[in-house]
Symmetry: C2
Subunit: 468 residues, 2 copies
């Protein structure tokens, strides 16, 4: 590593902008779920100008770096490798401004602005950025991973709400702006699409403009017990047919997943009659900007669920405390860690294959992997399924890394090849799942992706996320 | 032109699949608005396999061709040039199947299926492809031009509803599938985005999967007279804030545009009291899938407009025959042709610049181009403005081509540079407006676009639409 480069970066970024002590670097080199590496230094520019100057230095020296937002990603895309030769380029201080244009319903923000910070500023103007998830990522990170979340069916993913990005592209003159706040603007290649969902591999996003939505005036939420696993998709279809403008979320939770929360998160109480947790439950949320005097959303939901009960698609519906229901849903991921070794999957399935896949999984795991419990949950409305398994940490049924890798591959092969599903629904591609990207992506597509990536971001600079 | 190639194409496609007589070719070489050229032959494959074989032949011989759907595009992207060396590759017979997956709410169709044909098939299942416009393009053409239309604010453009494309890419092994019907699938580069809105320059789309929506159960429509030009955007903002789930369309029509319809389209009657046409009017449409027993949409619209009248944002609202109101709106484009020489613009503006731009246009045209009438109309809700002008065809104020080119450049310079607008809101890029693409697109972005295009579709083959 060039002493000259380090000195130049130090001069540019100052003490707060360049971390080298291992205790200071520790939070930046450990992935939120996977990955643990070593960084030459963590670079934290405070302004877009500083960022641009630092990127130019790194580029001039051919120094590899990984981009990082709030370090909440789940595929290790933001984690340095073990070589000790990579920099972490953190955008967490790029939050100089949040400019909200209420007429256009847009926000223009530095890449380091957190989702919660954007929503706080937007709420003051009756607006929101409605991509909802339990973590609090930066907007730059959300674009890089095209975050989906729990309300995709109403609002779409980040891609659907992305207006423009200011991105730094080496050998392309530095900063370029792609896109605009205009709703119609068909004037060539929509480059910002290449920067969305590709983990920073196609350009370094320093600023972005996103579309905001009116804050809902009403929400109505119910915990619904479907008549069976096979009834879940017909139930969703019926809700969507009757109430498409209002459905914000249909989240699924298996019995094992809910029980893990009741066992491990004391603040969440069991809402089911006599504490009897059903095999599966759905958190159904409607929302609208209509005031209650125009439409009582609770009544709309109750009527719709009543009709579905008559059609024998559901066996019960509980109208409880909304915050408590969401605490149950969002508590699952953490609660499972107390139950054993979690083998997490972020898959998506076509609607018609959702119930058959779940049935297959139950049979296959019982037969081939005794001791592994299925604690699946996730986004029924958009097909995203956190098919998380829990294995014992000790004892004869504990699994080593090799066994888990074998389980993982067989399961993902089945998802992708037999059920037309996705091996990465919303977490994107990183070192953690690059092998699966290579396994399931046709070779001509990978070659093409590699060539496009090279044109946008010469591969030398970027070792963590690549699509060739 | 190689005799061998023509013989091979003839053998492959047969009489119905290859037109060479000039009378047969005539409808394919004349653009819907701009452009008139000559074709070696019009190739009309009947199946994806035939299309692929024909494309491979063209590629092997290095023969240039232009892609064409229903030939309804408005920027000459589908029109051959005057050289007589290009083929027209028409996809209008690629309509072998329309496969609707009601569970997933998708339709998979050949590129040559017309919008009306798709909607007829979808309606039988209570669904629709809601990109609404007055022409009847093919789905392939809609993807290539990323059609927006009149209901974008509710449903988005084609891009927002595009799930997957099967595209032929030379030197990439031929047919590749990009995308899937899955709502969440973050597994790499979203290549289909490069094929959307780029006029076929990034690949030949032979089949596509699009998202369908539930057919509305109710529509409510009103013809609204805003209090002033300055009141239009606050009125839109208020409607969007109160009724975001229901707004399907807010279309604007200037006095001159409406009068042209009343003069030239006898089937459309003047709905205004005493026939007094106001300076501007808005066609406001709400829609919902809720049944009337849950919500009376007419009442919702009347209440909302009543409140806005109290705020003095509008001076009148007429609740008439929906079909008649849409006939008024859709009749403008044709009606203007009877009024003189039409100078058409497909621009888009930020909301805050809409009224100031209209005021500027009135002043500028009156001062610099006497005799030119402003007959603007279009998509107020999404900022797309058909800023169409009418000049006398004869007499001292008639304009020649050179004068029109000068007018066009000054106006578009103002739109793009002074008002942050778009020179092509929804019609895309083709030979007609390529000079403006070059004028307003930064050189590094054009270079990058050219490189990406070359990787996907070697430039040799494709002379009509290029982004370098």
């Amino acid at each position: 590593m060039s002493v000259q480069l380090l000195a130049q970066l130090d001069g540019l970024l100052g003490q707060a902008g360049m971390l080298t002590a291992s205790t200071d670097c520790a939070p930046y080199v450990q992935g939120a779920r996977y990955g643990q590496g070593v960084a030459v230094a963590v670079l934290r520019p405070a302004t877009p100008e500083q960022a641009e100057a630092a990127l130019s230095l790194l580029h001039a020296h051919g120094a590899p770096f990984v981009l990082q937002g709030a370090n909440t990603g789940l595929v290790a895309a933001a984690t340095p490798d073990a070589s000790g030769r990579q920099f972490v380029f953190s955008l967490d201080r790029l939050k100089d401004s949040i400019t909200i244009d209420a007429d256009e319903r847009t926000a223009t923000v530095g890449a380091g602005v957190r989702l919660s910070e954007l929503n706080e500023a937007a709420a003051a103007m009756g607006l929101c950025f409605p991509i909802d998830l339990s973590a609090d990522p930066t907007i730059g990170g959300m674009i890089a991973s095209n975050t989906g979340g729990a309300r995709l069916i109403k609002y779409g993913d980040v891609r659907a709400n992305l207006c423009a990005v200011d991105a730094w592209l080496p050998e392309r003159g530095g900063m370029l702006r792609f896109g605009s706040a205009l709703r119609k603007n068909n004037t060539g290649v929509d480059f910002k699409q290449l920067l969305c969902g590709t983990g920073g591999a196609f350009g370094v996003i320093l600023r972005a403009t996103v579309r905001l939505h009116p804050l809902p005036a009403q929400r109505a939420t119910a915990l619904v017990v479907p008549a069976s696993s096979a009834a879940v998709m017909p139930l969703l279809a019926a809700l969507e047919r009757e109430l498409p403008e209002f459905i914000a979320s249909v989240e699924g939770m298996s019995q094992e997943a809910m029980q893990a929360v009741f066992r491990n998160v004391p603040s969440v109480r069991n809402p089911f009659p006599a504490g009897q947790v059903p095999p599966y439950a759905l958190l159904v949320e409607l929302s609208t900007s209509l005031p209650a005097r125009a439409l009582a959303l609770d009544t709309v939901l109750q009527d719709a669920l009543g009709a579905l009960m008559e059609q024998e698609l559901l066996s019960d519906a509980l109208f409880g405390d909304q915050d408590m229901l969401w605490a149950l849903r969002h508590g699952i991921s953490d609660a499972l860690r107390h139950e054993g070794r979690v083998i997490a999957f972020d898959i998506a399935l076509p609607r018609k294959h959702w119930a058959p896949f779940r049935a297959w999984g139950q049979q296959w795991l019982a037969a081939s992997w005794p001791g592994v419990r299925i604690c699946d949950f996730g986004h029924v409305a958009d097909g995203g399924l956190h098919y998380n398994l829990v294995a014992p940490k000790t004892g004869p049924q504990a699994l080593d890394d090799e066994a888990i890798a074998a389980l993982r591959t067989t399961l993902l092969d089945t998802v992708v090849r037999d059920y037309d599903g996705s091996f990465s629904a919303e977490h994107g591609i990183g070192p953690y799942n690059r092998a699966y990207y290579q396994r399931y992506t046709p070779a001509p597509v990978r070659r093409l992706a590699g060539e496009l990536q090279s044109a946008m971001m010469p591969a030398l600079q970027w070792r963590n996320v690549h699509f060739d």
